[in-house]
């Protein structure tokens, strides 16, 4: 048996969230992240629209790829039911253990993210609900505008602490 006790804890549980007038950072609950991959030639958009209308958060990722995310963990039967709904248009892969979401919110959020990403995040070009994958510094992250001045930033779990530290540093001038 291992000498060390393995402790299951959220990747960002050590990080101190903050909420200043310019910018705030919060680690979102490690609920569920389902990576959706379309079958070749299939168009799952109608099926995904149906899921969104039922309250699922569906995020575009790339041609033929989406994420379904949420704050609540999915029990085995709920996950199985969701994966069944995706077929035959697409396959789903449970990435809940592998990707972590951070909420960045505040009037300075574009200014903060512009320090790390070359993506045009102006509200006119990147509307609420739009998603993309981009580099923030050296770390690839999936970002979604969830409000006029709020972005959900999803990152591989192993990079979550580094990205948090980078975002905190990028926010420092607006978080005093």
């Amino acid at each position: 048996m291992s000498k060390y006790r393995l402790i299951h804890r959220p990747a960002l549980s050590d990080k101190q969230p903050f909420n200043a007038s310019g910018i705030g950072l919060t680690a979102l609950p490690e609920g569920h992240v389902i990576h959706v991959l379309a079958e070749q030639g299939a168009d799952p958009s109608a099926m995904l629209k149906g899921l969104a209308e039922q309250g699922h958060s569906v995020r575009y990722a790339a041609p033929g790829q989406w994420y379904i995310v949420g704050d609540e963990p999915l029990a085995d039967d709920a996950l199985a039911a969701l994966l069944t709904r995706l077929t035959p248009h697409a396959e789903g892969v449970d990435q809940s253990h592998g990707r972590v979401r951070i909420l960045a919110r505040g009037p300075m959020v574009e200014r903060v993210l512009a320090k790390g990403s070359g993506t045009d995040l102006a509200l006119s070009a990147f509307v609420v609900g739009r998603s993309t994958t981009t580099l923030i510094g050296h770390i690839a992250a999936h970002i979604t505008r969830v409000e006029d001045h709020a972005f959900e930033i999803m990152v591989l779990r192993g990079f979550a602490e580094s990205l948090w530290d980078d975002l905190a540093q990028m926010s420092a001038e607006f978080a005093a």
């Binding site: 790339a62 041609p63 993506t119 993309t132 994958t133």
Partner: protein, 91 residues
């Protein structure tokens, strides 16, 4: 000239998000002969001017693109998804 590369899916992005594979050449037939295959694998023209290259949007949509780039000015004339096929003109 900033090193921006346009992705047909993601828009204009810094080159750091991409990986370059090199010239977008038409793959010879399996039985095209040793000489054709030597050319395909090892020989490049290195032109000054327009050049078609495979670029992978590694830190973005992760799609393979064919980018038409000017090797002298880095101006990008065209960028499209590689899954749509390589034009016959570069055969």
């Amino acid at each position: 000239m900033a090193s921006l590369v346009s992705c047909p899916h993601c828009g204009s992005r810094p080159k750091e998000e991409f990986t370059v594979k090199g010239a977008a050449l038409k793959r010879p037939a399996p039985d095209a002969g040793q000489e054709r295959w030597m050319d395909y694998v090892y020989l490049r023209d290195n032109p000054r001017g327009a050049y078609e290259e495979y670029w992978h949007h590694t830190s973005g949509c992760r799609r393979w693109l064919v980018v038409t780039r000017d090797t002298a000015t880095h101006e990008i004339a065209d960028s499209r998804d590689a899954a749509l096929g390589v034009p016959e003109t570069r055969a």
